[in-house]
């Protein structure tokens, strides 16, 4: 496969469960990197903790497997100190938005050229199926045996409100969109958020009687629609997929370089 050269094959088969959407995301993320013909020596992947975070071990880039929630904070230092590097931060939903929520909104605000990928499976898988801030209400989890009463974040709205300049959403079913949006995000000169709904058949699907991985993927097909589609108008419950924002705004590292120029000439 064309993407083989981006993989650390000696660590496969990977640790994810059968049918986990994270593998499909890895698969199609690497295709985006391949289509852009990016130089692996200029690629850094920074991840946090959780199922999602193991992705950094499987890619043959510079890889940094950090602490729960902190991927973007580490990534900010890497990008700021060496702005020529392409920095990708795959994160889980709890990782990015519970423990890492503050870093997430501030990274959006700063608009540093980093690609954040939220692999949203609505559950803490690595620790055994506790509910997350993306689970939403009415969900069964090990910490919600009587179903959740928590409301969920809308990751794209949060990203937009926090100032991210590229925001997109798709699912593990829509693999072509994964490649397309990550490609767009990698090329976008600012902070990009790509939310990818990812099935966790082991902990989320099984407990919530959603069936196996293929069944869960079919739900992504049924329950989502393109942004602004007619289907959405007829059924407001549908989750929109697509690019929510793609705007050019001052990028942090470029602004800082400008500040250095100003000071040194000043």
């Amino acid at each position: 496969m064309a993407i083989d050269k981006y993989m650390r094959e000696r660590f496969f088969p990977h640790i994810w469960c059968p049918g986990c959407g994270h593998g499909t995301i890895l698969n199609n993320m690497l295709r985006a990197v391949d289509e852009l013909q990016l130089n692996q020596n200029e690629m850094v992947m920074v991840s946090g903790i959780g199922c999602s975070s193991r992705i950094s071990g499987y890619v043959d880039f510079h890889s940094l497997h950090t602490l729960h929630g902190r991927a973007l904070a580490f990534a900010t230092g890497i990008k700021m100190s060496q702005p020529n590097l392409s920095v990708i931060c795959p994160m889980g939903d709890g990782d990015a938005l519970a423990i890492g929520g503050n870093h997430f909104i501030h990274a959006c605000r700063r608009n540093m050229d980093i690609t954040a990928i939220v692999m949203n499976n609505r559950i803490y898988g690595m620790t055994g199926g506790q509910y997350s801030p993306l689970s939403g209400s009415g969900i069964t989890a090990t910490t919600a045996p009587q179903k959740t009463i928590d409301r969920e974040f809308d990751i794209t709205s949060l990203s937009l409100a926090s100032g991210a300049t590229f925001v997109a959403r798709t699912t593990a079913y829509h693999y072509r969109e994964i490649t397309k949006y990550i490609k767009e995000a990698l090329q976008h000169p600012g902070f990009s958020v790509v939310e990818i709904l990812s099935q966790c058949p082991t902990h989320f699907g099984r407990r919530n009687k959603l069936g196996d991985a293929p069944e869960m993927l079919k739900l992504y097909k049924q329950n989502t629609t393109r942004i602004g589609s007619e289907a959405k108008q007829n059924n407001p419950e549908l989750i929109e997929r697509g690019i929510f924002r793609q705007e050019i705004a001052p990028e942090y590292c470029a602004e800082y370089a400008e500040l250095i120029n100003r000071v040194q000439q000043g």
């Binding site: 071990g57 043959d60 580490f74 990534a75 100190s81 250095i260």
Partner: protein, 382 residues
């Protein structure tokens, strides 16, 4: 004269010394009494093409300096007790992943928000044991601006030599007091740079395989070697492992690379110890009070001496034992409820000789406070 005298705050001395040592990346979050470090960095760094980041909290501050260290930069963050508490998890990451960095804790009264604008030395044990799990750590301190300059440079040098985070324990008194400092010219104090691997591209590079001398050459992120960095126990390529042999080897390496070099890391000053009957042991700001007492008593012919510790961790137990061998009394002067005093008691023979002179009400410990304890020791009442 090659030196330039400045009359500046300790916090500014720390910045000057960090820049002297080659720092070009700083990230921090405002907190009293350390904020002048961030403010001065924000002013100075763009002038030399360096980077200053004000992050959203102390956690992200230490995370981002670790990221920048991995790309090959000399980095530091500065904070005070509450912020240092927030940094503990990531400090452990830096220990485990062996990332050179300097963390400055300008101590204030605690616990909790405590006394933001008053001096304290209450974080000595936090520096040692704040992060979880067995680990070794280096912590340095200084009592005056000239020593603060050199200890800050040493902190960077040790971070590179041992590929480890180094904690610089300052305090509100040292941080905010102004006194003269001679800023050395480049080259006067040796600077240790990043040790980079000489392994050529295409040849297997082992980021976590120590050389014979124990040092681990690094390769910058963005360079020709792609490897993994993790806070998990890892093999010599940096990939996670649960192999008991590898884990055993790594934790011993992490401990030994520092504990076995304790004698090289130890920094101290001594005053009148040769014939001292009473040995005062102190460090940081309270060593100023101790030295004041020792000097004034010596003028009256009393046999007092001072051992000023400038490296607190690894604790220089052998040095303390040797210097206290003939002392009738040992008095530890510190601004906490007793932290270094316990280490001194563990270090010396006949620990019943060891007493504590402390002050914890936010006021700077005075010579009168120390003299009062000495009177009690000698059974003369206060």
């Amino acid at each position: 004269m090659t030196q330039r005298t400045e009359f500046i705050q300790g916090n500014e001395v720390c910045v000057n010394a960090a820049l002297y040592a080659g720092l070009d990346f700083f990230a921090g979050y405002p907190i009293t009494p350390s904020s002048e470090i961030a403010e001065t960095m924000a002013k100075q760094l763009p002038r030399i093409g360096g980077k200053f980041l004000q992050m959203e909290d102390e956690i992200s501050s230490i995370c981002s300096i670790i990221g920048a260290s991995l790309t090959g930069h000399k980095v530091m963050t500065a904070t005070s007790g509450p912020g240092f508490s927030l940094m503990q998890e990531t400090l452990g990451f830096a220990v485990m992943a062996e990332i050179p960095c300097v963390i400055v804790d300008v101590q204030r009264g605690g616990p909790s928000t405590g006394l933001p604008t008053h001096g304290s030395q209450g974080d000595v044990y936090q520096a040692r044991w704040g992060t979880h799990g067995d680990h070794a750590i280096i912590a340095l301190t200084a009592s005056n601006h000239q020593d603060l300059f050199s200890m800050t440079v040493e902190a960077f040098n040790m971070a590179e030599t041992y590929r480890t985070p180094v904690i610089l324990l300052m305090d509100e008194i040292t941080g905010h007091t102004r006194e003269p400092v001679n800023l050395p010219e480049q080259g006067e104090i040796p600077i240790i740079g990043r040790l980079r691997t000489s392994v050529p591209e295409g040849v297997d590079y082992h980021p976590y395989l120590p050389r014979e001398d124990g040092r681990l050459p690094m390769s910058d992120f963005g360079g020709k070697h792609r490897y993994n960095v993790t806070g998990l126990y890892h093999d010599m390529w940096g990939f996670p492992t649960t192999d008991p042999n590898v884990i055993h080897g790594l934790i011993h390496h992490l401990m030994d690379k520092i504990e076995n070099h304790a004698h090289e890391i130890t920094r101290y000053r001594e005053y009148y110890l040769d014939d001292a009957h009473t040995v005062l042991i102190s460090y940081g700001c309270s060593a100023r009070t101790a030295l004041h007492v020792v000097n004034s008593r010596r003028r009256r012919g009393e046999k007092l001496g001072l051992l000023e510790l400038q490296s607190l961790w690894p604790f220089p137990a052998e040095l303390v034992r040797a210097k206290c061998a003939h002392a009738h009394y040992i008095l530890v002067v510190e601004m906490n409820m007793g932290q270094v005093v316990h280490e001194v008691k563990k270090a010396v023979h006949e620990p019943e000789r060891v007493y504590l002179a402390n002050r914890v009400d936010g006021e700077f410990i005075t010579p009168t406070d120390v003299r009062g304890i000495m009177r009690l020791i000698h059974g003369r009442g206060v």
